[in-house]
Amino acid sequence: MAAAVGERDATGARRGRFAPYGLLSPGVIWLALFFLVPLASLFQMSLSAKESRFDFSPDFSWKWSNYSDAVSHFSAQFWRSFQYAGAATLLCVAIGYPLAYVIAFRGGRYRNLLLGLVVVPFFTSYLVRTLAWRTILGDDGPIVGLLQNTHVLPENGRLLATGISVVGGLTYNFLPFMVLPVYVALEKIDLTLVDAAKDLYSSGWRAFRKVVLPLSLPGVFAGGLLTFIPAAGDSSTRSSWVAPTTR
């Protein structure tokens, strides 16, 4: 069997040698058409002088000052975006790691079901979800009323359109991007390693700290990237969550 595998590998290598770059073409064409072209166009636009944002005339002029203008005009927004995204990423780790841990190690045969449940809300349209949340968290909705009545929120306090709601919304939206890579990292861990640690006089907690946690860190790192980068991009555009006062 090993022989067969070895020999098939050799065949694979040969195929790879004959058509190494040609094979890349579908991906490259896709990337070029739908990623690089728009990016280049955007870059060109970013260096153009324009009267209005909706003026698409190609008035290209290597206008690098656009960038310094953007930074100086919007530095507060940039900074706030990073803060919001950082807070959301940390929250995602705090919620997502235990969730992924429970699914990976205690999920048994329900694992895939549980993973599905984590992802399924994201198959409903973004707009529908947002609308539903506005109903629940809105100034006249049940949650705000409850919190105001119990004096957790001041009389005229609100949940929607505050910094907290931005972070909450980002956390909510990007949690699966944290759960999935952490789950994948945890799921790859051989459980006999935990047995081995216990066999070598480690309690469950020590086995977690010394074996499971270090081995799952790459997943946490990947999840952090997948969460932070788009969250930073998204938080500035998430106007429906942001209050006029914090904008």
Binding site: T192, D195, A196, A197, D199, L200, Y201, S202, V211
Partner: protein, 397 residues
């Protein structure tokens, strides 16, 4: 408390220790241990003891309960009933990290994010042994497994056999009362397996503690162990030295599982003490009884090993038991030629060596199959009891 016991004794590297000699008796005792998973009995009433310093094998086919038994000794499973004693103390409900036994896992389970030194030092560090002492101990252990220069390597940089040795060192560095090995050679290829068999024996002799290992490979068990427990469907069928188990199996399952055997179902014609008479073909044959005693009319299985069967053209003289046969097939198998013979409907398999001079035989020829009187054995019960061990086909040697 585990620490307080072994730290001063610490069996070191010089064979039997004062501790082992002083206590003298068994290191592991299983008292009527049963393990049930739901409706499934993984282990039925296992009841045996393993003395200090023994190389003990648990052997059986897949799902026979051998791994579950090992995991109960290690503490990963809790017996449903019965007790497990470790150096006299009942540890049945003690978690694995409070038992002074260590396990070498089948796939070694080396921590991939730690180098060899940190892997071996994991156990002593868990028990807060001072770093200076850890350094000495780890060095000694790497010496015992002959991988002195490998402390800074990562497990992935080692070959299978080297990983195996590191797993051994990682377990032995804790001075366990006994070492448990789960199919320790299963992940190695044939040549390496043979080399590691010898190496394991050497290390066991050097450290002098009991090694308990689980295997499904009967050749491995025969070659390495002082004693073997044969398990089948959760039951311990027989415990004994390799020679005892091979030459005097007590059940039909053991006869079929260890080595190859001709097994014929028949009934007892007359029984007297240790021997009984049965009829094979038209002949009445007397053979020793192994296992449970039998009475007249009981179903029994007559067993003779293929390598004890001689094939000849003439009927052999006295001292031999013989049946008339016809040659069905002969297959060259290297050291032996395998004869399939037909003795009035029953299949007889004979393994004939290359230096036994034989005339050229063809399928259809009439011959005699014979064996010395002490080669035959009667086992109570029918061959059908053996489950998946069909007549005359045992595991390969």
């Amino acid at each position: 408390m585990v620490q307080s016991r072994d730290a001063p004794a610490g069996w070191g590297e010089g064979g039997e220790t004062a501790l082992n000699e002083a206590t003298g008796h068994d290191v592991i005792v299983l008292e009527h241990v049963t393990k049930r998973f739901g409706d499934f009995f993984a282990v039925h009433d296992a009841d045996f003891a393993i003395p200090h310093g023994e190389f003990f094998a648990m052997l059986g086919p897949s799902g026979c309960g051998k791994t579950t038994t090992l995991r109960m000794i290690a503490g990963f499973e809790v017996p449903t009933s019965g007790a497990i004693r470790l150096e006299g103390r009942d540890v049945s409900r003690v978690p694995p990290y409070r038992r002074n036994v260590n396990t070498v896992f089948q796939q070694y389970a080396l921590f991939p994010h730690m180098n060899v030194f940190d892997n071996v030092a994991f156990g002593p560090r868990s028990r807060k042994v001072p770093e200076a002492e850890i350094k000495t101990r780890v060095g000694e252990m790497l010496e015992i497994v002959r991988l002195e220069g490998f402390a800074q390597r990562m497990p992935q940089q080692l070959s299978g056999g080297q990983q195996q040795r590191i797993a051994l060192a990682r377990a032995l560095v804790n001075f366990p009362s006994a070492l448990l090995l789960d199919e320790p050679l299963g992940a190695l290829d044939l040549k390496l397996r043979q080399a590691m068999q010898i190496e394991l024996k050497r290390i066991q002799r050097e450290v002098g503690i009991a090694f308990v290992f689980v295997t499904h490979d009967q050749e491995e068990a025969l070659t390495m162990s002082d004693r073997i427990a044969i398990m089948n469907e959760g039951w311990v069928e027989q415990i004994g030295r390799p020679e005892e188990i091979y030459h005097r199996p007590e059940t039909v399952f053991v006869a079929g599982f260890i080595g190859q055997a001709n097994l014929w179902q028949t009934t007892v014609d007359a029984a007297s003490g240790d021997t009984a008479d049965v009829t094979l073909g038209e002949r009445r044959i007397t053979a020793a009884i192994s296992g449970r005693s039998v009475r007249r009319g009981d179903p029994v299985t007559f067993m003779v090993r293929p390598e004890r069967v001689r094939v000849s053209l003439d009927e052999p003289g006295n001292g031999h038991q013989a049946v008339a046969c016809r040659v069905v097939d002969l297959v060259f198998q290297g050291p032996v030629v395998r004869f399939a013979l037909d003795a009035a409907g029953a299949e007889v398999v004979a393994h004939v060596g290359a230096d036994e001079q034989l005339p050229l035989l063809r399928p259809g020829d009439a011959v005699w199959a014979s064996w010395e009187r002490d080669a035959a054995l009667l086992l109570s019960g029918a061959a059908a009891d053996a489950g998946d061990a069909p007549t005359a086909v045992g595991a390969e040697t």
